[in-house]
Symmetry: C2
Subunit: 342 residues, 2 copies
DNA sequence: GGATTTGTGTAGATCGGTCTACGTTTTTCT
DNA sequence: AGAAAAACGTAGACCGATCTACACAAATCC
């Protein structure tokens, strides 16, 4: 077996350039106290030896130049769009983004976050994390944290979220303008829901919008979680209702759930949008597939991801007062919303 | 601002337990030379001090207990399924999996892989990487590598792939048994295609299967890449063909491309499967959505992911001869394939 | 022109683990 | 019982960077 070449270390560069290790380190970090002459000399040696600093070793004392992104669910394509926005910004500033996934719940999430901390990540972006707010506050005092998809206020971490109140209003207004009155919502009733979670806020926004239109009597939360499975179940339960008690339109809560419900209703012979309108939330790629064409609310994921990364980096630079960003959502009307027929 | 508690180090544990740091390290690594008495003593101290070894520091000499997964595209849900399989296995053995994404091409891929090496990852799983085989060979001599989705042989890395020859045959056989003769294929004609890449092998499998059925005259590669965009274009080009030159069935190459083509054809008023049958490849979640119901080939992603992780871990343990695993694909018939009508 | 300030470079401790080499004690063998 | 082998612990070098403290030279000040 051929022996692999040994990688150049900072000492090799120092020796080759005829200077001290500290000097090379200074060049590396753009630190004060380096003459132009020395800089070029060192840089030449680095290039010649094909030197790359070992990020791991840097992390022992300084920064690891690594950001961690925590995801509940990789298969939710909206999340991966967010991740891309984060990466874009981070890369411009020389940070690497590594993603960890843990779908099995709070324990797995905790373990993964610890693993990221144990690898000395400089900061964390949590996308739609589980768990109570005070756990996150505790975490935020340990390491710079930005939470994506949960609303503030929070003292020790920043948040970036879609304005879910406005988003829900967008949906209800749209359906009402089409002539619907009996509008239900797939509510995410996860047991550990906290104030500030999208499910909580969107539901509240739905309630408010319904009241605004004088439709309080039709407020109806179809229970479940936001996933394909749960959406299917919710759809089946709707299909099982007697016709008189069935809504004419549905606020899907999130696209994955909305598509699940769509599927179940479709299979039960309930035609969309003739028999029932559905509007989702998130504008994931699958919603655009033409035979479906799910009307939905777009959150401009890349934008949110970029925002989150910028906040995180400024926090790493030392900012301590928390910031909370709301991104305005936008309604996208496709083919699953139409005037009621009954 | 409240000061955060200082984290316990190995020295703290050693002092608390009244032993040497080396002893604690031995307990940690399950190394030889620890009496049961000392083990329990140390473990008690660790629990009491809430000690977690800093993975970063461990990586300086020993293992970092971190596996890197490289992904071209997070939004391809098949890839995320693979990643899950990897994580399952890795976690059982105390390894963490961190995912990196780089969709912009070879350079970005190279940078990301370097970043993972610079963080001293113990091994890498590359999912559908770009680039020539000898680049990968070179990489494989630097760090344990398993490539997912590229066929062997390879000397310095392992591969796990779907048996794409068989998969293509499955599709062609199925379509032929329905009565199709004029079967085209969305061929991925990326400029940097290498032998062993799925696109190459699937296309070859298609050619072979067509020949086997005596349909060589109808062999037809619709050029493009495997992505939604490119699928759309291919679909449009098919729709633009005069009816007499249009195939009655289409081997989609990959689900994302097949769905793109489906979309374009649908929009052009070509009805699936009445006017044209389409079969995809990968069985991504969106294919199952009922109004679509794309017939496809399943590769059992979780299984492949697990295999890859097992290979990688055994390679980290010291195995040097390379292994190459082929996973048998399975046809899933849904609603987009039917007998031809013309 | 001597004192002070500024600029440039180095030595060496440090981060938190791992691992080799070696000393001491206990067990096994003949 | 004495020798050899095995079991158990520890000291201290080491991994590859960062960072503080300090030495020395050059520039600026009064």
């Amino acid at each position: 077996m051929t022996e692999q070449l040994k990688r150049a270390t900072i000492s090799d560069v120092a020796e080759h350039a005829g200077v001290s290790r500290a000097a090379v380190s200074k060049v590396l970090r753009n630190a004060y106290g380096v003459s132009p002459a020395m800089r070029t000399k060192v840089e030449e040696s680095m290039a010649l030896l094909n030197y790359r600093p070992l990020a791991l070793a840097r992390g022992m004392r300084g920064n690891s130049y690594t950001l961690g992104v925590f995801l509940v669910d990789l298969s939710n394509t909206f999340f991966s769009v967010l991740a891309e926005g984060i990466r874009d910004v981070a890369e411009e500033l020389g940070y690497q983004v590594l993603i960890g996934q843990a779908r099995q719940g709070l324990d797995a999430q905790q373990k993964l976050i610890e693993a990221m901390i144990d690898r000395r990540m400089d900061g964390l972006v949590l996308i739609a994390p589980f768990g109570p707010n005070d756990e996150l506050e505790k975490l935020g005092r340990t390491i710079p944290v930005v939470v994506l998809g949960r609303h503030g206020p929070a003292k020790y971490f920043d948040t970036v979220a879609s304005d879910d109140i406005a988003g829900s209003a967008l949906i209800v207004d749209h359906l009402v303008s089409l002539g619907h009155e009996r509008i239900s919502m797939l509510a995410n009733t996860q047991p550990d829901s906290e104030p500030g979670m999208p499910q909580t806020v969107r539901r509240h926004g739905y309630d408010l919008a319904m009241e605004k239109h004088g439709l309080s009597q039709w407020i109806d939360h179809v229970p479940g979680r936001w996933g394909t499975e749960s959406g299917l179940e919710a759809g089946r339960s709707l299909a099982a209702r007697p016709l008189a008690q069935r809504p004419s339109a549905l606020h899907g809560g999130a696209d994955v759930a909305a598509l699940g419900a769509y599927t179940a209703l479709f299979e039960a012979g309930i035609h969309i949008p003739d028999d029932m309108s559905i509007v989702g939330y998130d504008n994931i790629p699958a919603t655009g597939l033409p035979p479906i064409g799910l009307s939905t609310v777009d959150q401009s994921g890349v934008q949110m991801g970029r925002q989150a990364a910028e906040l995180l980096l400024s926090r790493i630079e030392g900012r301590t007062e928390s910031e909370h960003v709301l991104v305005s959502p936008r309604l996208i009307v496709r083919k699953t919303s139409a005037p009621p027929r009954r």
